[in-house]
Symmetry: none
Subunit: 412 residues, 2 copies
C-alpha cells in the first residue's frame, strides 16, 4: 500500500486559533484510492524547518502533499523549499504569469509585482491551474515519489486536487482498495471492552483495528485493504460480524452514526414519539436529539426542571416525594418521566436528575450521582449511575445514559 504524508505550511497554524483542516479532506480522498496517510506535519513559514520536514517526508513516503505557502508574499516559501530539496531551479513560467495577469485584469485590477512570484515553477514540474484563486498548484515526480503543492484555501485546493491529482493517484495506487467500518459501543468500560475483543481483532492484520475512547463511548475503527472493493468489503464485514457477535447490543452502529441518529431512526420506524424531562443535564438530552434534522417526526418536546418547584408545578412530581426521597432519587426520576410523557402526549418519556457538580454534592448523594428514568404507557423504570469527570463530562455521560435507556428498552 502506498504511503502518503501531508505537510501543512503556515505560521497561523501554530497559534491557538487555527488548526489544519485541509488534511481531513485530503485523507478521505487518499484513502478512497487505497493510499494511507502515515504522518502529518505542521510547520510555520520558516525555511529551515520546512526544508527538514520536506526532506524527511520524501525519505519515507510515496506521496507528499503540501498545503499553503504558495501566495505572493515573502513568507510564502513552499515553491522555493521544494525546488531546493529536489535540486531544481525555479523558472518563471510565462504562460502562468499571463494567466495571473488576466485574472487580475478581468476583475478590473492591475497585477502587483509581488504576484509574479506565483508564476515561479520548479523546473520539470507540472503547473496546476487555479480557477478559484491566483496561486497555481504544482505537481512533480522526484525519485519515484509524487509531490503535490496545493494552495491553502479549501475552495481552491479541493477542485484542483480532484481535477489534476486524483486521476494520477488512481493510476499509481496499483489497485489497492479500502473498506472502512466504524463500530460505536456504549455502556462497556474501556479495558473490559479490550479484554473481550482483543482475542478477536489481534487475529487479523487486515483489517487494521484502531480503538478510540471518547467521553462516553468507544469507537472501533476497522480498515480493510484488498485489490478489489468487494474483497475489501468482505474482509471488513467478516471482522465486523465477529465483533458484533461478541459485543451484542453494546454496539449501536457499525457505520459511524451518532447515537441520536440511531435512536431517531428507530423511533421513526416504530412510529414512537419521545419527550424529555431534565434536571442536571439542563436541556442537553433534548438538544442532542434535535441536532438531527427531521427530529420533529418523533420528538414532541421537553422540560428542563431545574428547581424542585418546577419539578412539581411543570411535571407534577409530588412535593412530598421530593421532600422525603430528595430530588436526586429513582422515584423522582420515574415521576419526571411519567409527568412529561403525560403532559406532552408522547409515547415515551425519559428523564435525568442528578448532581453534576462541582457544588451540591453530599455524603449520601455525591457529585456524579445521576438517575435516569423512563416511562411508557405500561411501565416506568429508573437506573442509578455514578459518573466520573467534571461538570461537563457528567452532564454528557448522563445524557448518553438517558438516550441509551431508550435504545436498550425499545430498539434492540
Amino acid at each position: 500500500m502506498l504511503k502518503a504524508e501531508i505537510i501543512a505550511i503556515g505560521s497561523e497554524l501554530l497559534t491557538p486559533y487555527r488548526s489544519d483542516t485541509n488534511s481531513l479532506w485530503l485523507t478521505q480522498r487518499l484513502n478512497s484510492v487505497g493510499i494511507d496517510v502515515h504522518q502529518k506535519t505542521i510547520v510555520g513559514d520558516d525555511e529551515a524547518r520546512m526544508e527538514d520536514a520536506v526532506k524527511s517526508a520524501l525519505s519515507r513516503s510515496d506521496v507528499v502533499i503540501s498545503t499553503g505557502g504558495l501566495g505572493p508574499t515573502e513568507d510564502d516559501l513552499t515553491r522555493k523549499v521544494f525546488a531546493r530539496v529536489t535540486g531544481r531551479q525555479l523558472l518563471l513560467d510565462y504562460a502562468v504569469l499571463e494567466e495571473i495577469r488576466e485574472r487580475f485584469a478581468s476583475r478590473g485590477y492591475k497585477m502587483t509585482p509581488n504576484n509574479e512570484r506565483q508564476a515561479l515553477v520548479p523546473a520539470g514540474a507540472t503547473v496546476l491551474s487555479n480557477p478559484n484563486g491566483s496561486a497555481p498548484g504544482v505537481k512533480m515526480e522526484h525519485d519515484g515519489r509524487l509531490i503535490v503543492l496545493l494552495p491553502g484555501p479549501p475552495r481552491e485546493n479541493q477542485p484542483m486536487f480532484d481535477t489534476f491529482v486524483m486521476p494520477e493517484l488512481e493510476r499509481i495506487s496499483r489497485g489497492v482498495r479500502l473498506a472502512r467500518r466504524v463500530l460505536k459501543v456504549t455502556g462497556l468500560g474501556e479495558s473490559h471492552l479490550d479484554d473481550l475483543i482483543a482475542p478477536i481483532y489481534t487475529e487479523y492484520s487486515n483489517p487494521v483495528t484502531t480503538i478510540l475512547f471518547t467521553d462516553s463511548e468507544v469507537e472501533i475503527h476497522l480498515t480493510a485493504t484488498s485489490d478489489s472493493y468487494s474483497r475489501a468489503e468482505e474482509l471488513a464485514t467478516e471482522l465486523t460480524d465477529k465483533l458484533v457477535e461478541k459485543l451484542g447490543y453494546y454496539v449501536y452502529t457499525t457505520t459511524g452514526e451518532l447515537l441520536e441518529e440511531v435512536i431517531g431512526a428507530g423511533l421513526r420506524k416504530r412510529e414512537m414519539t419521545l419527550a424529555t424531562a431534565e434536571s442536571c443535564t439542563g436541556g442537553l438530552v433534548a438538544e442532542r436529539i434535535t441536532r438531527v434534522p427531521g427530529s420533529s417526526d418523533y420528538f414532541v418536546g421537553g422540560m428542563v426542571t431545574y428547581s424542585n418547584d418546577a419539578k412539581n408545578s411543570l411535571l407534577g412530581v409530588p412535593k412530598e416525594m421530593i421532600e422525603e426521597l430528595g430530588p436526586v432519587s429513582g422515584e423522582v426520576a420515574e415521576a419526571m418521566a411519567r409527568g412529561v410523557r403525560q403532559r406532552s402526549g408522547a409515547t415515551v418519556g425519559i428523564s435525568v436528575t442528578g448532581v453534576a457538580g462541582p457544588g451540591g454534592g453530599t455524603d449520601a448523594v455525591p457529585v456524579g450521582t445521576v438517575y435516569v428514568g423512563l416511562a411508557d404507557d405500561v411501565v416506568s423504570g429508573n437506573r442509578r449511575l455514578v459518573l466520573g469527570g467534571d461538570r461537563h463530562l457528567i452532564r454528557w455521560r448522563a445524557s448518553t445514559a438517558a438516550l441509551e435507556m431508550v435504545r436498550r428498552r425499545y430498539l434492540v
Copy 2:
C-alpha cells in the same frame, strides 16, 4: 524565546474523522508564558515513525510535549518510544499501580491486567497523577530539554498540564512576562468591527492584537509582553480601555468569560430569575445557561416545545395564533416567553422559534428565519433574525441572540 514542539500520537488522528485539537489549547498555555510552538507532528501508533518524530523534535526544540498513546492497550506505545529514545529503562511504579487499582476499586471494578502497562514509567521520570482518568502523565528532562507525555483526552490532560507543567514552564521561560486580554463582542459584523477598531490597535505593536471570528461572536485577543508582569498588565489595560471605549456595550467581557457566565452573574446580582421556551434550538439555550456551575441560583427551568401542540398545551400559546400567524412569528415567540414565565414563576422568560433547516423552509419563512422573544412582568417583545449557516450554526446563533436579548435589556 524557548521553542516548543507538539507531537500528537494516535492512528485515529490520521483518518478523515479526527484531527488533533489538543495542540490549540497547549499552544495557548505555552504562549502565555512566552514559549512559541515551532512545529506540530501527528503520527500513528507506529513505533518507527514515532521514534523518528521524537528524535527530530528533541534535536531542535527546548520543550517537547506529546499527547495520546498512554492507554492500556497494545498500540499505546508512547512510554516505550520515549524511554528508548532517551536511553532509559521502563520501570513498574508500584505507587502508580496501586493508585490505578484503587481507582478501579472505588467504582466497583476490578483492574484488568492490561492496565498494569499504565504504571510503567521511564527511569528517572516524574509521574503526573491523573484524577480524571487511569493513564498518568510523565515529565522528564533530557539533555536540557523538557519532555512531557500527556494522555489524549482534554479533560485529563488540561488539569494535569496546568497543575504539573505550567509552574515548571514559568520557571524555565526566563523572565518573559505576558499579559493577555480576551474581549468578546457580539452583534457587530466582522468588517464593520474592523473598520471601527483597526485605527486603534494598529497603533500598537505591543500588545499584539489578533482578531478571531467564531460562530456567533468576535474575539479580540491582546497579548502584551514585558520583563515584568505589572508593565505587561499596564500595556494590556491601556489598549483594552481604548477598545472598550470605542465599542461600548457590544463588548460583553474583557476577560474571556462566556456570554452565559456574564448573564448569570448579572442575573444573580439583580436577584432576577430566568426561564426558557425553545422550539428550533431544541434545548440549547437552557443547556448553555446550565453549563455554568451554580446556575440553579437564577435559572428556574425551560420547555422545549417542538410541535405546535406542545406550544399550545405546555406554554398556552393560543392555537388560533399559531394557525393564523404560523409557529415562526414574533407573536408566537412573545407568547412562548410569556407562557414559560408565567408557568415557571421566573421574573423573565425568553423564547426562540425558527427554522433551523435543512428542511422546513418556505418562500415566506426561509431556513434561517428565527424570532427571539422576551417577557417580564411589565412588557414583552420580540426580534426577527435571518441567520446564515447550516443547522448547527443557525441553532447556535439563535441561542446567542436569545441570551444577548437578556443582556441588552437588563444587564447593560
